[in-house]
Symmetry: none
Amino acid sequence: MDIQDLVRQLHIKNDSKIVMLVADGIGGLPMTPDGKTELETARTPQLDELARQGVQGACIPVLPGITPGSGPGHLALFGYDPLKYLIGRGALEATGVGFELQPGDVAVRCNFCTLDQAGRITDRRAGRISSDESGPLAISLRKISIPGVQLFVEPVKEHRFVVVFRGEGLEGAVADTDPQATGVPPLDPIPQDPASQRTAEVAIEFLRQARELLAGESKANFLTMRGFAGKPHLPTYQDVYGLRAAAIAVYPMYKGLARLVGMEVIGQATNLSEEVDLLAQHWADYDFFFLHFKYTDSTGEDGNFEAKVKRMEELDAIIPRITALQPDVLIVTGDHSTPAFLKSHSWHAVPTLLVSRCCRPDHCQQFSETACIQGGLGQFEMRYLMSLALANAGRLAKYGA
Amino acid sequence: MDIQDLVRQLHIKNDSKIVMLVADGIGGLPMTPDGKTELETARTPQLDELARQGVQGACIPVLPGITPGSGPGHLALFGYDPLKYLIGRGALEATGVGFELQPGDVAVRCNFCTLDQAGRITDRRAGRISSDESGPLAISLRKISIPGVQLFVEPVKEHRFVVVFRGEGLEGAVADTDPQATGVPPLDPIPQDPASQRTAEVAIEFLRQARELLAGESKANFLTMRGFAGKPHLPTYQDVYGLRAAAIAVYPMYKGLARLVGMEVIGQATNLSEEVDLLAQHWADYDFFFLHFKYTDSTGEDGNFEAKVKRMEELDAIIPRITALQPDVLIVTGDHSTPAFLKSHSWHAVPTLLVSRCCRPDHCQQFSETACIQGGLGQFEMRYLMSLALANAGRLAKYGA
């Protein structure tokens, strides 16, 4: 029995409101041995006040030393064991461009590539062709037609695009066609089990027609397919937690991840202030709100320490508009760390703050990487954050008599 | 392999003595945002001295956010995974009134109820009939006789009583008869598997005779049955730990829980001082002593902050009599938190203190919720406390070469 099995049995309903504010990639590192992290450098009086009222902890997204992608990071935040539930690469890519996968769909991440006259790969990424050039090429592939199958082709970025097959009898266990080498032809899409035979046939026909359509193109005259994947089977927030959950995000990836666990995506916010507008407008309609702030991650990925500090301060400034709504439980956290020092996601524990009227405050005076390791929640696996949220909201009954 | 599998292989014997002093519901919360907890408010010089000598940690009884009942809380203290070992409601109720379940028994929690003339339930709890009135009614049901089955009926409190069936071929998978609604008749006891067919037949006959016996009663003229359960199959302290273990408690529930894991219940103490008398008298006879102090929980349940503080001080004052016996390992902990602020059990981590000559002391100067999160044992699942106890007692061999 894992934590979700337990919570499914124990959850009860009440009128409480839970807000989970996710600053993507919030955790950081100092740029110099004696320096401070981005969060510690930022002036964050509002978050520090919450730190005094609430309880902190250091969340381990997956397991110690494991750096999560956005998929596993958010699954853990949402309370799903990221080692148990996997979102295939194709499904994540489709989700990331806002494509709503349906049960039975198979999504495939594709890369444009170049072939020589003998059909051998010369560049596996077509020279990282620009999005301006690759977009129209991807859209031209919408001309492909295969009887009995509905096809969707969506540009992603540079050499990447996504193809979705929709039809009867499709499963996702098909091998990649990218040989991971140049000077050799692409591989055939080989089914890995009998149930995926039809998918492999569809892929072969798709590739045959694509080869004809792209034959005259100079920048990219073929493609490889990677990460065939169906829609993941995830239990819903309603089922596991008994929560009517709303997701508020700017970027399609995070809306898509939230949709996979049964949250309703609300509004079309383009910035944090508009996200909080939506929060206030829909306050009565939901029990749980996932509010996603992207820019603490993207500035970290850029290695721009100062910009990440500023984004922290932007986040801090919005807090009073959230606390004014008087959530019963307010959580501030991230799905992983993205230190500007590393210019990438990292494995470091994520500073996590929880405020409620019964959260047993600790002595932390500041919200930070250094403070959180002294916090009352200790270090804990991120997938336990949701059970703590529910407990603090009075939404979990006692286990056993 | 879980911790008990490992400890079963590694335990060795020596002359050490381990005392586990359990202050039920010890963990608390401040009553006001800037306040102190019950334990922090209490004057506890003895416990604070132990804190300076020993090492502290914050125990998570089950998993983060999960509030345990007494059953799971004590199983975790005793080193049994509370998600793996379940004590059914009937078995816990029988245990709670001091009934010694035998293998093959099936225990049932019963509620007196009232029926109208058409046999429909009018009150599922018979107006929460007083214990003075329900006790004789329960005892009157001892007249029931069923061939081949030994019957036990024990009053519990108000509308609650417990029935135990003892005989050949009885299993506990029978559905509740409480329809969880009024205006409808009670349900039949339906077997959930073939092995429980006989139990269901016995229950039907019990209910038939009970209906006749109670027909003329005004306060409660029938009963419902809930939580059919056999004796749980728990490995023993002797088997897992190689310990001769004694339990010293005032209340039947805790004696019963200890008995389920193979501890011997000693004496008939009526207060903490008498419990410590028993500890001293039986010091030579056992390796491990579980000493249970109830009142930190009951005062918390009452929401009586000041009374809980006083009970902490009572506990503190007894410590010198325990340390005078020179236990090799002394643990002070609780089975869960019971903050007066919440008037109920809660999920909050439990301050836990371990003193031994080799415990690697930390910097904690006080025994408290705030201190323990800085303690050398960190936050850990309660089910690991027993292996720490054994290790500190020199009772665990090296794992692997």
